[in-house]
Amino acid sequence: MHTEHAAAIHAPAAHETGGHDEGQQHPIKLYLVVWGWLFVLSTFSYLVDFFGIQGMMRWTLIIVFMMLKAGLIVAIFMHMAWERLALIYAILLPPGAVLFFVATMTVESTYTVGDRIEYFGPTPVTEVTINTSHH
């Protein structure tokens, strides 16, 4: 749907380098609404902590609010929603590599901490004084 919109609002670039002065024109109200939503969502994330919600619930809520906020900023404030798919894909697909990296490191660090607990004991050594003279 938004692509037709895009076609309507974008007269093609008047000039190769100058871009298009007709550019992004949307009613100011749209920005105010998004602004409001960002406030609301931030408040929600804050309340998650305020009420001390823990466990899976906490994670789900945090991530959901985070993604919603990120989505609003990228789609509306950064005008991604009105860009053509060519640009959208070029920007949104590569971070997949990062997500894969994150998944890898999640497994890796779980493995590390498991090893540490198994071989070094679960609790850190506190009674041994650490020599701080070096450094």
Partner: protein
């Protein structure tokens, strides 16, 4: 069969122009030649700087070889110096020479010319890119003179060792090294954004992505992965700098050294390895993809035949680039990471071999039924195929996780990556310089000197690194100052080491012929005219040679065909430039249908 030439423009529409006022106009000698914003000048600055610092790395490789062949012989050589030489050698070769020369050098020169642009999209940023790169090189050179010398941590800079006593240059050297890398990345990003945006947004009329020469494809794709891979190194470098300078414990667990408990606690050394190789593996393709691209153009031009399977070549480049982000842990099979990763990463690693293999086949099939002119660039291109296949195939040993277990960290790995990176792309750099030198200077490089340079470099490099695999098979580890007495290395291996060293010195000296040729031909070389190789791509169609200010004179070229219309049946000549309008070709099949 798809008729690739059919994609033509029917009516010549006025080309998209950058008005003259928007071009960069140098005002003085200084802004013309030194602080230039012209991509061509920046390219030359990048290349000269890279080749110069490359010579330093070459000398370092002599030091390495001398020690390995004649241990306990040279008074200037001790373990610390050796490791400093190895580190400086590896780091310069990969980052400051190859990455810089391919992207900053060839990228700057060829991208605008090949896609029919007047310059990079943001010339000022492009200029900054070079100066920051130069600063990075200077900081690196400064580390040679820092107290304690340059870092001897190995080019992989693995902590904790890299920042602890016991490693040469652990105090100042490593800090300067990391600072230099951070600078390099910032500088590269400025240039890289230019290369990418110029290719995506700055092409001339009729130049679709699928008509671009493979050189542009290679450099463009390499730049894209560099922009996404360097961040990991950047972050790793910043964190290591903090560990070193502020005593944070990102990569540092509790450590006791020489009986003393250090203040570090709880960090994860293997995190650095992941960050490094998340960058490091794409990095090896950053220096391979431009070589792939350029060698395609050299082969096609000098075999007077279209590159075979152009679309396959493009998709292979793209899939290699994408896959390069999911194979990094093949450098960590024996690092002690989570063992089951081995299955996944071995599979992805070997899958990369398929698109790469297709590229190799297509190069060879381009020769098939060609009209092969054995010019110096062509010789280098052929040598590239041989050495790259050899090195790539040894990569399959290492990629196959369990085979890597005995071979990892041995001279086998050293042999692998020299063949595939230290020889093959370097041969392309040479071939490309012989090929494009006439466009840059208006004169040909001397052919006899070129032949001498070629034969010594190709056969010599092969003789250095092919036998080296067998040292690794024996079990000789890499980064060994001296192997000394062992039960498993026969004395004959010493002879082999001496042989390798002697050849390495000869090959090194032979590079002087090349350097001499570069300067000699500047004045004495045969005049080349605008298109000595009778090539199709746009850079050979410039109104002036060397290309003048704004590259194209009054009007931008309009492109009507792909870059590989060699020996088109029915055409008068055996090549049709990309900007030749269809109507001008009497009866040539290439006219749009």
């Amino acid at each position: 069969m798809v008729d690739v030439t059919a994609r033509t423009i029917e009516t010549a529409v006025p080309p998209a122009e950058v008005p003259d006022v928007e071009l960069y106009h140098p005002k003085s000698w200084l802004t013309t030649w030194v602080f230039s914003q012209d991509a061509k000048i920046i390219a030359i600055q990048y290349s000269m700087t890279a080749l110069t610092i490359g010579l330093v790395a070459l000398v370092a490789s002599w030091l390495i070889r001398l020690q390995l062949a004649f241990p306990n012989t040279f008074s200037f050589m001790d373990a610390a110096t050796y490791y400093q030489a190895v580190t400086v050698h590896g780091m310069i070769m990969v980052i400051y020479l190859l990455t810089a020369v391919f992207l900053g050098g060839f990228g700057n020169y060829l991208i605008p010319l090949m896609i029919g642009a007047r310059d990079m999209v943001f010339p000022y940023v492009n200029m900054l890119s070079y100066w920051i790169y130069l600063a990075a090189v200077l900081v690196l050179v400064a580390s040679f003179f820092a107290p304690g010398g340059p870092t001897g941590a190995g080019w992989t800079l693995y902590p904790p060792q890299a920042i602890l006593e016991g490693t040469p240059g652990y105090s100042a050297g490593i800090i300067l090294m990391l600072a230099s890398l951070i600078l390099f990345i910032i500088g590269f990003t400025m240039g890289g954004l230019n290369y990418v945006v110029t290719v995506l947004q700055g092409r001339t009329r009729g130049m679709t992505l699928m008509r671009m020469p493979l050189t542009v494809w290679g450099i463009f794709t390499a730049t894209v992965i560099a922009l996404l891979a360097f961040p990991a190194l950047f972050v790793g470098a910043v964190m290591m700098l903090l560990d070193r300078a502020l005593g944070t414990s990102f990569f540092m667990p509790a450590i006791i050294q020489a009986g003393e408990h250090l203040k570090y606690n709880g960090g994860s050394p293997i995190l650095f390895q992941h960050l490094f190789w998340f960058f490091g593996h794409p990095e090896v393709y950053i220096v391979a993809l431009p070589a792939f691209g350029m060698v395609s153009d050299l082969i096609s031009t000098h075999a007077r035949k279209n590159i075979f399977g152009y679309r396959m070549m493009v998709w292979a480049i793209i899939s290699i680039a994408v896959l390069s982000f999911v194979v990094w842990a093949h450098h960590m099979y024996v690092s002690g990471m989570y063992p089951a990763f081995g299955f996944f990463f071995a599979t992805t690693t070997l899958i990369i071999a398929v698109p790469t293999a297709l590229k190799v086949y297509n190069w060879v099939l381009t020769l098939w039924r060609g009209d092969i002119h054995l010019t110096v660039p062509m010789l280098f291109a052929i040598a590239f195929i041989v050495t790259f296949v050899n090195g790539g195939l040894t990569g399959l040993f290492l990629g196959n996780v369990v085979v890597d277990v005995p071979l990892s960290d041995t001279m086998f790995v050293v042999a692998h990556f020299h063949m595939v990176m230290g020889v093959a792309p370097i041969l392309v750099v040479f071939g490309a310089i012989y090929h494009w030198y006439p466009k840059i200077t208006g004169r040909m490089l001397n052919e006899v000197m070129g032949q001498v340079h070629f034969w010594i470099t190709f056969l010599g490099a092969y003789a250095i690194f092919f036998p080296m695999h067998y040292l690794g098979l024996l079990g000789v580890p890499r980064r060994y100052f001296e192997i000394g007495q062992t039960s498993f290395v026969p004395p004959s291996a010493e002879t082999l080491n001496i042989f390798i060293t002697v050849v390495a010195l000869v090959v090194g000296i032979a590079q002087l012929v090349f350097v001499f040729n570069l300067f000699w031909s500047l004045k004495k070389g045969r005049e080349s005219g605008p298109n000595p190789w009778r090539a199709t791509s746009l850079e050979w169609q410039t109104p002036e040679t060397p290309p003048g200010h704004g590259n194209w004179g009054k009007e931008l070229p309009v492109v009507y065909r792909w870059a590989y219309d060699y020996s088109v049946p029915g055409a008068e000549q055996d090549f049709i430039p990309q900007n030749e309008p269809p109507s001008a070709l009497n009866g040539a099949r290439a006219a749009g249908h």
